[in-house]
């Protein structure tokens, strides 16, 4: 996010014309002094970005090749030993797969549900503005609070959800939502869907509003059904934005931390252990800085791969659209 900074600064620098040199001709020509001023004004931003973004990243990569531990007073270069240890470790592979599974399923559900929400919210109806605001509430609640809330709601002994399901007769015995390996990850995905669908709905709604109504009107005159119009006009028009939104969501979902950390602690039986909780435990409980850094680097590489996949998909989408 920080790279947005320099762009806005440059815009600010180049606009005012220096009054000291009125004779200088050509609007495109930038004098050396102007260039220096620009560079000087940019410098603090560049330094800041390097200090807060690039330095920690490079340091993490550097640490991932070391066995740094303040407790054991060790800090040696160990090559790729940390990576070897991680790839051979069942716990890491399990967390990696859990994270991918969580990312894929939650992103898919949130995108589809978000699309549904957005289509409804794009239609004029009474109190639409109010509903649009209300829909955002789950997203505005801090995740730790959401986690606690779901903990109370889904409790096997006193939870409202089990009570209602029992009353309606859908189940015979309370479901152990967070304490059963079969349900724990599903419960976390459900909580995340509840929380983040509004965010997706909002992004997709913005895309829907860029679809010109005239297209729909002319298609309707030609006799296209609303389903046909949705498939042939709406979907192609919003597809790039939809993909971008899913990409944003997937990258964010990959870093899931608070929900499993508060709700299940990674359990039962490691079934909700994800890479963020695992690296937190390695780094801050175990003080194994080298191994923990290697975990975050592998996390970063996986995220980069996800982003690349989406990028290829989006680029191909564009070729179809343009060509």
């Amino acid at each position: 996010m920080t790279t947005v900074g320099p762009t806005s600064t440059t815009v600010g620098v180049e606009e005012p014309k220096p009054p000291a040199q009125p004779t200088r001709a050509g609007r495109d020509h930038v004098s050396f002094r102007d260039w220096m001023t620009g560079a000087a004004l940019l410098l603090p931003t560049v330094v800041m970005v390097l200090a807060v973004a690039l330095y920690p990243v490079l340091r993490s990569v550097w640490m991932s090749f070391r066995n740094t531990s303040p407790i054991l007073r060790e800090d040696n270069f160990v090559g790729v030993a940390n990576y070897g240890q991680l790839l051979a470790d069942e716990g890491f592979r399990n967390a990696w797969l859990n994270t991918l599974w969580f990312t894929a399923v939650s992103t898919l559900i949130e995108t589809l549900l978000g699309l549904g929400f957005a289509l409804v919210l794009n239609h004029p109806f009474r109190g639409r503005g109010w509903v649009r605001a209300v829909v955002l509430i789950p997203w505005a609640i801090p995740t730790v609070v959401t986690s606690r809330m779901f903990g109370f709601l889904l409790d096997g002994q006193s939870g409202v959800v089990n009570y209602l399901l029992l009353q309606v007769g859908l189940i015979d015995a309370p479901i152990n939502f967070t304490g059963d390996v079969r349900f724990a990850m599903g419960t976390i995905i459900m909580a995340d869907v509840w929380k983040t669908t509004p965010f997706m709905a909002l992004l997709i709604l913005a895309a829907l509003q860029s679809v010109p109504p005239s297209l729909h009107e002319s298609a309707a005159i030609d006799g296209a059904s609303s389903w046909r119009r949705f498939l042939s006009i709406t979907m192609p028009m919003i597809m790039p934005a939809l993909l971008i939104a899913s990409l944003l969501r997937a990258l964010d979902a990959f870093r899931i931390f608070d929900l499993p950390y508060v709700l299940t602690g990674g359990g039962p039986a490691d079934s909700t252990e994800v890479l963020s909780t695992l690296s937190y435990k390695t780094l801050f409980s175990g003080s194994q800085y080298g191994l923990g850094s290697a975990t975050t680097v592998l996390m970063f590489l996986t995220e980069a791969a996800i982003a690349a996949l989406f990028a290829i998909w989006i680029a191909r989408r564009f070729k179809i659209l343009e060509g």
Partner: protein
């Protein structure tokens, strides 16, 4: 149309740029260097400063006010308090201590530490050896389990301050109605719990904590200890988690939820509070918990069972004895301290009878000093606390090793697997070799 596509493409480009930054900025920025934040207010009237870094314990009194009597009476030293996060954020407290002690800047003289950290800090060379300052006779004044937990390689590397211990809460009204005795073995507890549940007198027989978290290790220490076993031997190297006593204990934990059916499987995601609530709501006969539950259970605003609760040492298996997992914060002196004489004098004051009782009064914590429990002033502060002396005498430390955090994580994962799958022997054998690898390096 053309213009529309262009603007969308612009949007996408911008989005892509922002995205790149997002990925870079967020997923990797995990390892920062903490600052040691060493403010060092000058001592007034030439007294030497003792920097006391402590977790922020919950009380209406501040720690700085608490140490005022020491400051008022001492002509040569002055204690300056610096607070860390509260004990509930124990990982953050640990992290800050690691950074500040590791910096060895002399900014810390005395610190408070969770009962599971002394071996770690001592092996890193951050804790002063207090052996000669506090000979055996002095150490015997504290509960033995606590002294064990601040002892590393036969050296005293900390001093007990206050403690907590796992204990058995029971519904004395229900037990009395049925003419049942307070159980002293797990078999007795299982029989009573099953009978009470079967007759419909109470919903849950017995509650404990099985969430894959530190609290699970505390439960394991109590059950395994009660069978005469341990996670690690006293040498800190011999792994005993796959031995027969441990197998018996973990199997019993599994059985409570399965063959015995006295515990709901919900405990697999419960830590302290979710397990406390059904008990104080009157829905459980027995509960394994810390001492804070006593106060809650006697508060009519939060509890349906006021005056109906009893506390006893946790049961044990035949041939074993009750093992209460120890908690609480202890004191330590930094090896890099420039004022060790002052630090030791402050430690003596903190663990004196008067200070211990005053601390119990103002912070509600159980004194580490045994003699406090015979003092009528403590009975006045809390009659219940005095009765806990037997529980505390049987206090059992968690494994004492500098690698404790890693050992704990391995136990959490393996026992959680054993409890969900029922494969006790397989998972314990596996975690045994894992822990052997951890403690051997």
């Amino acid at each position: 149309m053309g213009e529309d596509a262009l603007s969308r493409r612009g949007f996408i480009k911008l989005g892509g740029g922002a995205l790149g930054a997002l990925v870079f900025g967020s997923s990797l920025a995990a390892c920062g260097q903490g600052s040691a934040g060493g403010s060092n207010p000058a001592a007034s009237s030439g007294r030497k400063v003792i920097n006391f870094v402590t977790a922020k314990f919950e009380s209406t009194t501040s720690m700085q006010d608490f140490v005022k009597p020491f400051n008022d009476s001492s002509s040569s030293y002055q204690v300056v308090v610096r607070e860390l996060p509260p004990p509930s954020q124990s990982t953050e407290v640990h992290q800050q201590l690691v950074q500040q002690l590791g910096a060895a800047s002399g900014d810390i003289d005395v610190f408070t530490q969770d009962v599971i950290w002394p071996a770690e800090f001592a092996s890193a060379g951050w804790a002063m050896d207090l052996s000669s300052e506090f000979p055996q006779a002095e150490r015997d004044k504290f509960f033995p389990g606590l002294v064990q937990s601040v002892t590393w390689q036969d050296k005293l590397v900390g001093l007990p301050f206050y403690l907590d211990a796992g204990q058995l809460y029971y519904r004395k009204d229900v037990l009395k109605d049925k003419g049942m005795k307070v159980p002293t073995t797990w078999q007795e507890l299982a029989t009573s719990a099953k009978a009470l549940q079967g007759s419909g007198d109470i919903k849950n027989g017995f509650l404990w904590q099985g969430k894959q978290a530190e609290v699970l290790v505390c439960n394991v220490v109590s059950f395994v200890g009660g069978a005469g076993g341990a996670i690690l031997g006293p040498d800190g190297k011999t792994v005993m988690i796959a031995d027969q006593p441990a197998q018996t204990a973990i199997q019993f934990m599994y059985d409570t939820m399965n063959s015995l059916n006295i515990t709901p499987k919900d405990v697999l995601s419960w830590d302290e509070e979710p397990s406390r609530k059904p008990f104080t709501a009157g829905n459980a006969a027995f509960l394994r918990q810390w001492s804070y539950v006593w106060k809650v259970s006697q508060d009519a605003n939060q509890s349906q069972v006021v005056d109906k609760v009893g506390v006893a040492p946790l049961p044990h298996f035949p041939g074993g004895k009750s093992a209460a997992c120890l908690g609480g914060y202890q004191l330590g002196v930094s090896e890099s301290s420039k004022n060790k004489e002052g630090a030791v004098e402050f430690l003596r004051w903190m663990t004196s009878l008067d200070t211990q009782i005053r601390y119990a009064e103002l912070f509600g914590s159980n004194p580490a000093l045994r003699s406090a429990y015979a003092d009528p002033r403590l009975a006045k502060v809390s009659p219940a606390m005095v009765q806990l002396k037997d529980v505390f005498e049987g206090g059992t430390p968690r494994p004492i090793t500098p690698k404790y955090p890693q050992v704990s994580l391995a136990i959490q994962s393996a026992v959680s697997k054993a409890l969900t799958t029922g494969d006790v022997a397989g998972n314990l054998a596996k975690v045994k070799s894992e822990i052997e690898k951890i403690v051997s390096t």
